[in-house]
């Protein structure tokens, strides 16, 4: 035990004192603060309203309505509400349509014109109400959110226009067509949280990403540490005093403790930031109400426990695999190549998670909860969506522990032979032989 502690302490102390650790530990919170403050700072100058010409070749009142309606649309920013569009009604006749349109196009997206420059042109012909076909030409057609918003506004206008044509009172139509603004709030375990759906999505995203980075970063550190001992032959001194198992355990725990410390610092900073979000926002000049509208997730203690638990289990699982790979290599260059299979599994975990975000309760998500390779990604995220029962979490932990035992048994066997094997690089065939030996 004393010896394992010596190995743990060595791994921990040399790592924590290294410049790389200090830098990455400090940079994490800085990025978090930036991510937090950026939307507030940026929203202050979210750009001028979009200048749109509504080119109306029908002149039956519909085009005018479109222009009015666009002008009334507001955009919420953190500091104040701004008009979203600056719409201009341009009446014309069908035979002059293309000429006028061309002259408007010539003024669109031309920076030298300054404020006289247009952002886009809506062309309204008689097919607008009949077939629901409206043409839009503009500089922002590549932005899905801009186009989605415009399409939603036009859809309701078209429906309203049709209703009006069939003889309904314009006032009634206006009342009927008032748009819906869906405000989401997350419910967790019978408790209404102050969290929006956007925020919980962000949280799941951030968790997966932090897990991915931490597993990769610290897993590879374990591998490099094994390779260093092997290529420098320190292993010969160590192995005459420690068993391979003691050495491997000490190494994995030492590096793991470093990772946990770093994650702790990051998570602690994030918790502090979110609990003082109003004060911080005030410092950059945003109102408390505006802060509430930002997608800042709250992290419950239970989620934190589940997240850290799955980080630890996932780390032990992948670190053993990385250690086995390291023991098969003689140089850092060898290891760079040999690590690929393990790294791919971690990357797959991340991408699987992204694809599951849309359906955290689907059957794939259910199955992957019990696959040790992916459970560290899937389970905390499902937990954060409250789409998992407690017994499922426990079962997932059990599966993870089972997988971990198998992985350490296999990796330990490879490691035991690998660390003293010099000469040519070991193949997976050799590894299979060592596992059976």
């Amino acid at each position: 035990m004393h010896k394992i502690l010596a190995v743990i302490r060595r791994e921990f102390v040399t790592r924590v004192r290294s410049r790389a650790f200090v830098i990455s530990t400090v940079i994490g919170p800085i990025i978090m603060i930036l991510m937090f403050a950026m939307p507030i700072l940026l929203s202050g100058n979210g750009g001028a309203p979009k200048k749109i010409a509504v080119l109306d070749a029908v002149q039956d009142g519909f085009g005018k309505l479109v222009a009015q309606r666009l002008n009334s649309e507001m955009r919420d920013t953190v500091k104040r509400a701004d008009p979203r569009y600056d719409a201009m009604w341009v009446p014309t006749t069908p035979d002059r349509l293309s000429a006028v349109r061309d002259s408007l196009v010539a003024r669109t997206g031309v920076r030298s014109l300054g404020t006289a420059s247009l952002d886009g042109i809506l062309v309204i012909t008689d097919s607008a109400l009949g077939q629901g076909m409206i043409r839009y030409m503009g500089v922002n057609v590549g932005s899905p959110s801009d186009m989605g918003r415009l399409e939603r506004s036009l859809r309701s206008l078209v429906i309203g226009g049709r209703l009006q044509h069939s003889g309904l009172d314009p006032q009634v139509v206006l009342g009927v067509m008032r748009p819906v603004d869906l405000k989401t709030l997350k419910v967790s375990e019978g408790q209404l949280t102050a969290e929006s759906g956007e925020a919980s999505f962000l949280l799941a995203y951030a968790m997966s990403f932090i897990l991915y980075i931490a597993l990769l970063l610290y897993g590879i550190q374990v591998m490099n540490s094994v390779v260093e001992e092997k290529s420098s032959r320190i292993i010969e001194v160590l192995i005459s005093s420690l068993s391979p198992f003691q050495l491997l355990l000490g190494k994995v725990l030492g590096v793991g403790a470093t990772g946990l410390l770093q994650l702790g610092i990051w998570v602690g900073t994030a918790t502090l930031l979110t609990s003082f979000k109003t004060q911080i926002a005030a410092m950059v000049g945003a109102s408390p109400g505006a802060v509430a509208s930002l997608a800042i997730p709250t992290v419950s203690p239970a989620l934190l426990v589940v997240f850290l638990l799955f980080f630890i289990l996932g780390f032990l699982f992948y670190a053993s695999a990385y250690a086995a790979v390291g023991s098969m290599c003689n140089s850092p260059q060898d290891a760079q190549q040999a690590q690929m299979p393990v790294t791919l599994f971690i990357a797959a975990g991340l991408f699987i998670m992204f694809s599951l975000l849309s359906e955290p309760n689907g059957s794939t998500a259910h199955v992957l909860t019990y696959v040790p390779f992916f459970a560290p990604f899937v389970t905390p995220v499902r937990f954060s969506f409250s789409s998992i029962a407690w017994w499922e979490v426990l079962l997932s932990i059990a599966a993870m522990v089972g997988g971990l035992l198998i992985m350490t048994a296999l990796a330990g066997r490879i490691y035991r032979f690998g660390i003293l094997k010099y000469g040519k690089k070991a193949t997976w065939g050799d590894a299979m032989k060592w596992i059976r030996a």
Binding site: V13, S232, S240
Partner: protein, 316 residues
Amino acid sequence: MSILSLSHVTKRFEGHVAVRDLSFEVPQGGIFGLLGPNGAGKSTTIRMIMNVITPDDGSITVLGQRASRELAPRIGFLPEERGLYKKMKVLQHLIFFGEVKGLSGSDARSRATAWLDRLGLDQWADKPVEELSKGMQQKVQFIGTLLHEPELVVLDEPFSGLDPVNSRVMKEAVVDIARQGRTVLFSTHIMEQAEQLCDRIVIIARGEKVVDGAVREVKREAGTRHLRLGVTSGQDVARRILADRRWALSLQDHGTEWEAELAPGAAPDALLRALVEGGAGIAEFGVEDPSLESIFISKVGAEAATAMRSEEVAHA
């Protein structure tokens, strides 16, 4: 009582036998040399003694037990391939070595500090290992081997790559250990080092033992003693006497100074008397034991004295 014993130990690697049916005993106390050319199987033998690798056949008893990690606190091991954690500070590194050998942190610290003083490295205690020269790193590793005051010290090629000054400092330390009643086993392919330090030796070549015993006995048994002779007058008489096969096996005449190989049974005092009584004027008469090098060459042949295989093959 022997502190280390190998009995019919064999180790095979893919395609070749590194150590074949090797048996020897290392008595407690003193300095024991494991000699042989490069690739003879010295390092393989030492790795088996240290339980880094296990023999295919035969058995090894260390300190009265089967070789195992339990013995680690009682053995110090300097492997042939030196390695240290490059980024670690020298003193921290030595404390770590002490701790994995079972020392407490504070014991390890005070002993390491004392050793660094003794070997003139006290200025370097807080420097990272990578800033040290190769020779200094070797001394650091040597300290790591001795920190826990082991009963048995196993050194694989301990003096290779050191300058004469550092080499002498380490040799003195080795002699010191032996003087305290502890045992040192070291391997070398340089026979002069063994000649200076060892009480007993084993010479192996191609993985097999060729010579085993106390250095004095090995030399006596080797027989051929070297005679250095200065004859001032009566050279003819002297030449006739030395031509007799009962006295000498060969004679080289360099003018005033002659060299001869004494015949196995010839007593130096009887020869001297015969020369003087025959009327030869003797200015110089010296008999030297054969060097270990000459014994080695005569036992295994000159071609075996040079590397037969690269060390890497033996390590594979």
